[in-house]
């Protein structure tokens, strides 16, 4: 028999866009007038699917729409999706920070949330006092905290500073202390949102380990939101993919992650270029193209890049005025978001625009040896230190396997780069 600890039924959340101003009062009055006459809220019917990039007609959007799921005791559910997909809204509803517009969440256990570590830390208080304050905010009693105080301090690794006001702490230390408090919470359900983004590698490892302990050995349920697919994959047992406020997939974590990577903003293997909408800016990126040249110098225009081919990136820029000292950057990341290479024009050369019009920044990266897999590119244009235009993860390309060494043995493994190093064997 399944032991369901948490169940969400038809959870929806509506938000009003734009600013809250005089219009609010008239909407409120209208809503109240409908309520008096026993009618339905007139604004619940309107509202559009939450697609961040496209302009809508309605002032109301559904940040979440009909979310249904069940979580069993001891499961770790990873919730993934793009920025603005509704993940954090869902966590906010789960942790009772805000109420859903419709639907119901039923729970058999206490929920504690860790939406951002260090909530309620007072910089004037010492580390020890903040442990008490933060612990109490998260729902612990003073007695509980006292009994775990030594463990918390040890886990944080801040013994020396424990009686110093936290305003003297480095940001990393604050996070360590805050996570330590949260890690010793004992709710049946723990909600965690992107806490691992800060802190050094050692601490991240410690934090993930602690979360694994919580779910595996203590049998508690964890809901985890992160963009770090590696962390999600190693922690979670189940996954939920949210897109534009709707559940797209619910099930096995590996399947969820694969689906997410495939459904990302760009689609692989379709176009090798992307054109951007024209704005009224004095300068903007108008088009970006990825192509590859084979060893004979022939250009292949499919976005499938044969391993070993030379990558060529072209950033088309439309300038309506003259510029000095422009910088173009190309950042190549894996589909899961790990950055692996940055190609920055200003580190290599200086460009001066002495006239207006169309320009192309072209970068030929003959020494970037990528392993087969999906990659995404972020491009940015800057003048001196100000970013003028940035297109995040705007285009993807796929590197397909190839016999690059000419040995008939294709390099394998879940890796990002390879090298055609020269091997020698000498006897001494």
């Amino acid at each position: 028999m399944k032991d369901i600890i948490l169940k969400a039924e038809n959870i929806s959340k509506q938000y009003r866009l734009g600013t809250v101003g005089t219009g609010t009062l008239s909407h409120d009055l209208n809503r109240w007038w409908h309520a008096i006459r026993g009618k339905e809220d007139p604004y619940l019917k309107v509202g559009e699917t939450n697609d961040r990039s496209s302009k809508g007609n309605s002032d109301y959007v559904w940040a979440l729409q009909d979310i249904n799921f069940e979580v069993n005791r001891g499961e770790v559910l990873g919730i993934i999706g793009k920025n603005g997909a509704g993940k954090s809204t869902l966590l906010k509803i789960l942790s009772k920070v805000t109420a859903p517009t419709t639907g119901v969440i039923k729970s058999r256990g206490r929920i504690a949330s860790l939406l951002e570590v260090g909530t309620g830390f007072n910089p004037e208080l010492t580390g020890r006092e903040n442990i008490y304050l933060n612990g109490a905010i998260l729902g612990m009693t003073k007695k509980e905290i006292t009994s775990k105080l030594d463990e918390i301090i040890a886990f944080s690794g801040c013994e020396r500073y424990i009686d110093t006001p936290t305003k003297r702490y480095s940001s990393g230390m604050t996070v360590r202390l805050a996570f330590a408090v949260a890690a010793f919470l004992e709710p049946e359900i723990l909600v965690v949102d992107e806490v691992l983004a800060v802190g050094d590698a050692e601490f991240q490892k410690k934090a993930i380990g602690k979360m694994q302990d919580i779910s595996k050995s203590e049998g508690r349920t964890v809901l985890f939101v992160s963009h770090n697919m590696a962390a999600v994959r190693s922690l979670c047992t189940k996954g939920m993919l949210i897109e534009n406020g709707k559940t797209v997939f619910f099930g096995d974590i590996d399947e969820t992650i694969d689906l997410y990577l495939k459904s990302s903003i760009f689609s692989f293997n379709s176009n090798n270029y992307i054109e951007f909408e024209e704005k009224e800016a004095p300068i903007q990126i108008s088009k970006f193209e990825v192509s590859s040249l084979n060893l004979k110098g022939e250009r292949s225009n499919s976005s499938g890049v044969l391993m070993g081919n030379i990558l060529e990136f072209s950033i088309f820029v439309l300038a309506k005025q003259m510029y000095n000292n422009l910088k173009a950057s190309i950042i190549i990341s894996t589909a899961s978001g790990t950055r692996i290479a940055a190609i920055r024009s200003h580190e290599i050369t200086d460009f001066v625009f002495d006239s207006k019009g169309d320009f192309v920044f072209k970068a030929t990266a003959s020494d970037l040896k990528l392993m087969p897999g999906d990659y995404v590119v972020t491009i940015a244009l800057a003048e001196n230190n100000t970013t003028i235009d940035i297109k995040e993860e705007c285009l993807g390309f796929t590197v397909v396997p190839n016999d690059v060494y000419g040995t008939g043995r294709i390099p394998k493994g879940n890796l990002y780069v390879y090298s055609d190093a020269k091997w020698e064997l000498n006897q001494k």
Binding site: Y15, T24, V97, P100, G103, L115, L125, L133, I137
Partner: protein, 290 residues
Amino acid sequence: MNKTEFSEEEWLFEIAPKDKFFSLNLKEVWRYRDLLMLFVKRDVVTVYKQTILGPLWYLIQPLFTSVIFTIIFNNVAGIKTGETPAFLFNLGGVMVWNYFTSCLNDTSDTFKKNASIFGKVYFPRLIVPLSIVMSNLVKFGIQFLIFIAFYIYYFMIGKVTFQFTTATLFFPILVAIMGILGLGLGMIISSLVTKYRDLSFLVGFGVQLLMYVSAVMYPMVLLKEKLPTFGWLIEYNPLAYVIETARYMLLNEGSISVSGLLYTVVVTIVVFFVGLLIFNKTEKSFIDTV
């Protein structure tokens, strides 16, 4: 999803869009009592950290206000304060009035000021205004001590005669009324401010104006005598009764009106429950509008 299954299931709690009309979860507030105490401690301890005078600031403000009042209202304008020295008269009024205004002012931006905490973690929101009222009580206690010190001083030099009546015993109840009234009004305002920021401006100067019709620096009878047409302003002001009665209890100065006090108690209870109601309704979704 199997829909037939859940009807037989028992759930610890549910999160739903709207609760019943009035659902005050006192049990939950009790569970978070340690947090309440920690908030009080934080407020009292941290306010004057890294200041030279520290908690002395709690005393400087009422003392200076009373001195200024004495100079302007009693020496310049010539308001009579009966048997009691004007300074002590003013100090008593200012002290009680301060407790009310600090409760009101501090609770009225509960949601705005704590939006960053409230947006990330759930605990009964009521804890915050409650802690404000309690930490202000500590502040009031310190100010009360200085009042007693001056009382003793005036007693020594023979300016006041010591009269301890049974009425004095009810002084804590009066303070409680003042606190609850401030809390209730503060909760109403803090809830409305989340949507309509206009109110926070109104409160800013409204409280200042209110002081002039609350018998803080003059006896209640004086206004009724001098401005009979505006006498209702003070008769319907529950704060005026509290301050007048407080002075009667402490200094045996002025009058005590049973009907006035009853009226005050009723107003306080109504305001407090309306405040609770609105506050409860707001806390569920204020984070979307604040």
